[in-house]
Amino acid sequence: MQNSSPVADDRHHKLAPQRVLVSRKNAGRALVVLASAGFLLVLLIQILHSIGATTAGYTDWRPVLYAYLVWAIAFGIGQVMVRGERGQRALFLFPAVLFTVAVVIFPTLFGIYIASLDWNLSSFEGPHFNGLNNLIGLFHDDYYWNALRNMIFYTLAVLGEYAIAFGLALLLNAEIRARRMFRVVFLLPLMLSPVAVSWMIGKSLMEYRFGPAATLARDLGWDNPAFFAFPWVARLSIEAMDAWVSIPFIMIMLLAGLQAMPKEVLEAAKVDGASGWQSFWHVTFPLMLPVSVTVLIIRIIFKLKLADIVINVTAGGPGGATDTVSSFIYRVYRDRSNVGYGTALAMFYLLMIIAFLTVLLRLSKRWTQKVA
């Protein structure tokens, strides 16, 4: 992601001088004002209705959504009318921006509000404000911190995935026959839904009594091949499943990097008498560092969202040993209907992710620059 190069200036078109008629301009402004007023009116009616001040109103908030849509369209038309060609350019960006604001910014702010509530959907009293109590409760919640510790393990395990994926990418980059076939086969796990994988591997392949993996483990001398009964074994089993699904992604990225690498450098290393291992360690690996860092960061971002497999295979067990933060919050909500507290946990997690990734991006910039 940090690869995004600044857009070169010559890519941008020069603005053609164009005069917009004053009457058109005014009409455009009027349209925007009118649409905004209409939207606010719908919003106001609905707020008044929901707090019981008026009887007029709608049964749900859906009309507000439509009003927002109408407003967005009117706003776009207004922009073009007022600002001419400049407005037409802005029109490319507006839909995505307005959409993202509506579905991310607003819910996130709303989430911060929910996080400060004592709100249990299964209790009869509705939500009521309890300030920072959720936050204080979070610090005493051993299961939450346990889940965070597990996240550290899962995140570090990305390095293992990376090592395997690098090996596979090197294999695919070697002079082999049927390269395309192997590439397709290696990519397949990425296509599969984690939920299906939970059953295919977690619940049937690794099943204690009849699963082939358990049978194999017995043949190899492990008397009691319970993959999900002991904390560390369970954690490793979950990680193995997640690795199975996501190694293809890392591999494909690294393979693209390897194929883009200048051939001359490796040939020069060969001429200098470097062995395979030396030329990998002193030439290939350093050259691949920027790609590696990028793919590792993307992979870590996705790893921090890990939930599906845990929810479906172990539901966090045994004793929270495999819990991820997401799966833990999922259970706080699903089993205890504790919306307020669950949201507080999620918000706190988000803050930690942001802090962690900021540090990671800073550090990674330094590493990649050293090589370049």
Binding site: R11, H13, R62, F186, L190, W199, I354
Partner: protein, 308 residues
């Protein structure tokens, strides 16, 4: 062995030794490749074959059809998709079909919406210079990309409350909106790269010919950007098809998608292996086919930005 016999002929010894190591390394490479191919394929093979097994075959660990066990339509019959039951009525099949439909509609809808919104934004970011307050092009791009780090749990609960108010809970439209959000950054990322690779002179030539900005975009640039669009579309399709977390929280009866159905079946006690296997096979089959046929586009979508 050649080393001892040919000690008097150093040159040939060298050749023989290097050929031996070459063969050995070939063997190792193909061995490793085949081993990993086995790791990738065995779970799929296991699932597909299990859907044709009876309980006895499962418990005895039989693996190879016809040799080990006699395949039977058992699993497929239980979801109403075997040759003898496909014409009759089956509640299990009716449910599967409706979940399939939900999955197809939500993932197609979200991918189309994300592609439209994302392509427009990507083209804007690639061609024009914006300034919204302190935000420039790179900041806007970062704003879009930063949505990627949001874990689903952060949005899930606010959305639950919000959707309840908007009467969007358990609707396909609600899921489409959310899925669009999750894939939009990826689409913008791929499409911006695609537009950057199309020479800006083409747009300028179109302006000279009297086309407006939007005319040039739709008639000249967009047709050239089809490969990127296909890659972005397929990638978002895969991501939406497999999404579980939001679907599990926000749907209950009407808009339930395939992963939710698979998950709810695994949760029940005393799993029917054959019917679960058949269900899993049905759930992964479309993507396995997509993966095999359209691998090129998936790879090109994934590797956008790598190796530069």
């Amino acid at each position: 062995m050649a080393i001892f016999t040919s000690a008097s002929q150093p040159v040939r010894r060298h050749h023989a030794a290097s050929r031996a190591t070459r063969t050995l390394s070939r063997l190792l490479i193909y061995g490793a490749l085949l081993f990993w191919a086995f790791v990738c394929l065995f779970p799929i093979y296991w699932t597909v074959t299990t859907s044709f097994k009876s309980a006895l075959d499962v418990t005895q660990g039989h693996l190879i059809p016809w040799l080990d066990f006699q395949p039977d339509w058992k699993g497929w019959r239980s979801i109403g998709l075997s040759p003898d039951s496909i014409l009759g009525t089956s509640t299990a099949r009716a449910e599967l079909v409706s979940r399939f439909e939900n999955s197809i509609i939500t993932s197609l809808g979200a991918s189309v919406l994300a592609l439209v919104l994302g392509s427009l934004a990507a083209y804007g970011l690639s061609r024009f210079r914006y300034k919204f307050g302190w935000m420039r092009n790179d900041d806007i791009l970062f704003f879009f990309m930063s949505q990627l780090i949001l874990p689903p749990v952060v949005l899930a609960l606010p959305f639950l409350v919000l959707y309840k108010a908007l009467a969007l809970l358990d609707t396909r439209f609600g899921l489409i909106l959310l899925y669009t959000l999750t894939v939009l950054p990826i689409v913008i990322w791929i499409m911006r790269d695609q537009f950057n690779s199309i020479p800006v002179e083409l747009d300028e030539a179109a302006f000279v010919d009297g086309l407006s900005i939007w005319g040039a975009f739709i008639r000249i640039v967009l047709p050239l950007a089809v490969p990127g669009m296909v890659a972005a579309f397929i990638l978002s399709l895969v991501l939406c098809w497999n999404e579980y977390f939001f679907a599990a929280l926000l749907t209950s009866t009407d808009a339930k998608t395939l992963p939710v159905m698979v998950a709810s079946q695994t949760g029940s006690q005393g799993i029917n292996w054959w019917s679960m296997a058949a269900l899993s096979t049905a759930a992964i089959a479309p993507l396995v086919i997509v993966g095999i046929l359209l691998e090129r586009y998936i790879v090109s979508g994934l590797t956008t930005g790598a190796g530069k």
